[in-house]
């Protein structure tokens, strides 16, 4: 498979008043054409910031390092006006909150059409027509009428469909979806995931799905990357990670997800709170919350390293993992 994105040693830091916070460190992954990668982690694990950095959308005090190669161009540290040649065209992003991610003062057709005018050089009329077709494609009824509407006239699910249509207008190589279903009703979530899957397949677009919801990952993602405290702690195929997690944190996440087929009395959450990035624990960042931590975990941070069976994890513990009462 052809690689569309290759991220090497990427880091994201934020300058505070008199200190620096490392939101993402030593991130490495690659993304193949048409593949779906799920990036999973709790709030503050750095999963969103990593991809905002790739899109050049970090807050003013944020700085990205390392490389994010899209073919032979490095997106990290690129001048905004250079980046604008690729953003929206080769690499697009969908955000968590469809209610606020569309401009309330502009019609849907304007917000969609401008992408084609900018990147494809379409005339305005032709751009609006193509945009309307795309709206139909993402399952919006009466697309011509909706194209003439303002965002507040559409429901949340509709707006997220509009966002998807907008991101896919130029058939990008990479689509980053940051918690695309979090703000939606559960009934709409499944439809939205189906839509992602079918459209990215049609266009051969590689999809990065940033989420904390493993239920979302299960049906859609080919591979998973689990993040904790700004670092990847486990990587592998979705099946491997679901059926045989190697990192205690992955296991914890799986156990804190409700399962429809099992009649569990209570969910088994991961104890404790996600760490403050300003003050990460010594050794393994996860050690204060880990059921398997031993003395080595308190002093030495485990690197993300290949395991014998060809997967990657960042954990010292090698024994079997029996966790709580469910496993």
């Amino acid at each position: 498979m052809k690689q569309v994105l290759h991220v090497e040693d990427m880091s994201v830091t934020f300058a505070l008043h008199n200190s620096e916070v490392h939101a993402v460190r030593e991130m490495n992954f690659s993304l193949a054409q048409g593949e779906t990668l799920a990036v999973v982690g709790e709030s503050g694990s750095g999963k969103s910031q990593a991809f905002l950095a790739i899109m050049g959308l970090l807050a003013k005090n944020g700085r990205a390092g390392g490389r994010a190669m899209m073919e032979d161009i490095n997106l990290i540290g690129m001048e905004p006006n250079q980046l604008d040649k690729h953003r929206g065209k080769d690499i697009a992003m969908i955000f968590q909150d469809p209610m606020t991610s569309l401009n309330p003062t502009l019609k849907i057709k304007t917000q969609l059409g401008e992408v084609l005018v900018k990147h494809r050089g379409f005339e305005r009329d032709k751009a609006v027509q193509a945009a309307t077709e795309m709206l139909e494609r993402v399952g919006i009824p009466e697309p011509a009428k909706r194209a003439n509407a303002y965002p507040h006239e559409l429901s949340g699910g509709m707006r997220q469909r509009v966002m998807i249509a907008m991101a896919l207008l130029c058939q990008p190589k990479i689509l980053i979806a940051d918690e695309p279903t979090t703000a939606l009703d559960v009934t709409v979530q499944a439809q939205m995931l189906d839509l992602f899957k079918s459209l990215t397949e049609d266009f051969g677009t590689a999809l990065v799905l940033i989420t904390h919801d493993l239920g979302v990952v299960a049906g859609v993602a080919d591979r998973m990357m689990v993040m904790y405290g700004g670092r990847a702690v486990e990587k592998g195929t979705t099946d491997d990670l679901f059926y045989d997690p190697h990192h205690p944190y992955t296991l914890g996440l799986l156990h804190s997800t409700p399962h429809i087929a099992k009649r569990a009395e209570r969910l088994d959450p991961i104890q404790g709170l996600p760490p403050s990035l300003e003050n990460l624990p010594k050794g393994c960042s996860f050690n204060p919350r880990c059921a398997f931590a031993f003395d080595r975990c308190l002093v030495e941070r485990p690197p993300l390293a290949p395991t014998e069976n060809g997967r990657e994890k960042a954990c010292h513990y090698e024994g079997p993992m029996a966790y709580g009462k469910v496993a």
Binding site: L57, T105, E114
Partner: protein, 307 residues
């Protein structure tokens, strides 16, 4: 949109009525009357004068007589300038005052919007600091003081512009008074624009626009300006009323032939008809401008049109 405008026009009627009523009675609460001079008038003369202007009737009856005339477009006579009706006096001074106020309004609004937007785009860089400093000066120095400073610096020391007077429409005579009026208005507008622009630039939809690769210029022009204007536009109505009342003072300082001179002396002399007439006319202008502002607001924010 038509329905929206009609509703706004209709809702202005009770406001106008309340304002007229309030002005009428508040003015009468002030002690003294139009015929209190340094030398008391003979009682019979005073009684005749009061009867002539209906001042001997009960207040409530005077009110209805006044409103009745007003509805026919009659502002009544001036009680101090015997040979003039209020309408004639307004006709002499008001066009100039309005010209002064509206020129300052238009210039100040444009200057304020541009300065505020520039400030926001360069937030916490030197152009922002310079603009915020200038805005502060415009805001904190009262207009009568600013007028005197301008006269002294640009009129006397530098001698660039005339320090006062009005020679039948020479533009040079208008530069200083308009500048004095523009500064606070531009300052307030700029402050509002800066704040709302900074807020808009941090919204999710501007982030979306960036993620589409639209480029700074298009993002500002199409995605940021319109929503950023909303709070500024709602200030413009009150802003104009500050300007029009401010121009009364500025006219005095620069010896300009507007309504200001008459209005101030009318208030001191208790020339009821003239004070009421001026106030009511101002009120109508401000109501009309607010109506216009509401319409602009509805154009900027599609949500407003339906509520």
């Amino acid at each position: 949109m038509v329905g929206y405008v009609t509703r706004r026009v209709l809702s202005a009627i009770p406001i106008a009525l309340i304002a007229v009523t309030a002005c009428f009675f508040i003015l009468r609460l002030a002690p003294g009357g139009p015929f209190d001079g340094e030398r008391a008038l003979p009682p019979t003369t005073l009684a005749n004068l009061r009867a002539h202007y209906n001042l001997d009737l009960p207040l409530i009856q005077q009110y209805f007589i006044y409103v009745g005339r007003l509805l026919q477009g009659d502002f009544g006579p001036s009680m101090v300038y015997n040979d003039f009706t209020v309408a004639q006096m307004l006709w002499i001074g008001l066009p100039f005052t309005l010209m002064l106020g509206f020129s300052a309004f238009i210039i100040g609004t444009i200057v304020g919007l541009v300065a505020g937007a520039l400030s926001a785009v360069n937030q916490n860089k030197w152009p922002d600091y310079v603009l915020v400093f200038l805005v502060m000066i415009g805001l904190v120095v009262p207009n009568f003081l600013m007028a005197a400073i301008m006269q002294l610096v640009f009129g006397v020391y530098l001698d660039w512009f005339p320090a006062g007077g009005w020679q039948n429409g020479s533009l040079a005579h208008l530069v200083l008074p308009i500048t004095v009026l523009v500064l606070p208005h531009a300052g307030r507008t700029a402050r509002l624009m800066r704040g709302s622009m900074i807020e808009v630039l941090g919204t999710n939809y501007v982030r979306t626009a960036k993620s589409k690769g639209l480029g700074q210029r298009l993002i500002l022009a199409r995605h940021a300006i319109k929503p950023a204007l909303l709070p500024v536009v709602s200030y413009l109505g009150p802003g104009l009323s500050y300007l029009l009342t401010g121009s009364l003072v500025v006219e005095q300082v620069f010896a300009l032939p507007g309504i200001g001179k008459y209005f101030i002396s009318a208030a001191l002399n208790r020339d009821y008809g003239l004070v009421l007439g001026t106030t009511i006319l101002y009120m109508f202008i401000i109501l009309a401008v607010n109506l216009l502002v509401d319409v602009i607001y509805a154009w900027l924010d599609p949500k407003v049109r339906y509520s």
